[in-house]
Subunit: 83 residues, 2 copies
């Protein structure tokens, strides 16, 4: 078994309103920053012991499907690296 | 001016308690997943028009310093890519 870190990034699907990101963007603009758009996402770094990188990715994907992301409103992607 | 996307990842410093991540880890374990550790982070994708990548990175770094991260408890990193 090898130690891997799977990074799961969960973001809202296009078209889903994100009031927190909108508020953050407005606050930055009030501070004088110029920006075109701001999107927020959640990032989970999961340390797993797995037989290989494919196994680690499969398990992290299942975690995303079952708990970390809500498929109705979220997209997610999974990246795996040796820890 | 070129369109860039600056990705600012904000994570808690080592040693700062993260009850949300702990709860998420416990929920995954209750679902039967085996994991060694789980850390959560916030990720902001900021679209900016900038003269070059260095300019975009400098502005995103200043946004992190002034608003997106709290230097007492957070570390952050900034990555810039052409949009």
């Amino acid at each position: 078994m090898t130690a891997y870190t799977a990074t799961v990034t969960v973001r809202l699907k296009r078209g889903v309103l994100d009031p927190e990101a909108e508020t953050t963007q407005q606050a930055l603009e009030r501070l004088g920053f110029e920006l075109e758009d701001l999107r927020s996402a959640d990032r989970f770094e999961v340390d797993v012991d797995a037989a290989d990188a494919d196994d680690a990715e499969a398990r992290a994907t299942e975690m995303a499907e079952r708990l970390l992301a809500n498929p109705t409103i979220h997209d997610y992607d999974v990246e795996v690296a040796e820890a």
